[in-house]
Symmetry: C2
Subunit: 109 residues, 2 copies
């Protein structure tokens, strides 16, 4: 399967900013291992003001399925719950309190 790129966005609660930054400087090793297992690579998170942008590359063949299965793993579920508690919904996406997927409108290899 060819590599696919994903961009996603969310906002950080002010009172959780330092907590999120510190935890992402020291992500639990089990989370990184599980991401690698489902073929996520070159994954970065960027922050400006309270906006976050995530970029990742995926080389598997069922991104939604792999991500969904990964979320069932107890330690991942625990991590995700702690992180989602740091988020504010992206503007006009109050129905989703976590990352929203973005549309790629340009790419240069």
């Amino acid at each position: 399967m060819a590599m696919q790129r994903y961009g996603m966005a969310v906002r950080l609660k002010d009172e959780k900013r330092q907590y999120y930054i510190e935890n992402h400087a020291n992500v639990w090793p089990e989370i990184l291992e599980e991401l690698k297992k489902i073929n996520v690579q070159n994954y970065s998170i960027f922050l400006k003001e309270d906006f976050m942008f995530g970029y990742l590359e995926y080389t598997g063949n069922d991104f939604d399925g792999d991500m969904g299965n990964m979320q069932q793993i107890p330690i991942v579920e625990k991590w995700t719950k702690l992180m989602i508690d740091c988020f504010n919904p992206f503007p006009n996406n109050e129905d989703n309190n976590s990352w929203v997927m973005m549309d790629e409108i340009f790419h240069l290899d």
Copy 2:
């Protein structure tokens, strides 16, 4: 020089949205060539609502210098002027009417 990753953010004016999207589906070939010449690679732009995020990788050794020099090239200057006219400043960055650089707070190879 090792590869460096850059994340950047800006907003799109509603009335320029289609113009920007169409132009980025068909970027002038000269612009793409100049980006490659200064060692920019794997460059993507993502859009959600009126927020845009850019991700690129740079393998040269003077990003600011290379970018500055590229902006002096007449066709690049012309392109950039047209594109900047599509932007709204990122929140709390009204002094910068173009892309603002973000901080990388997480990376997984």
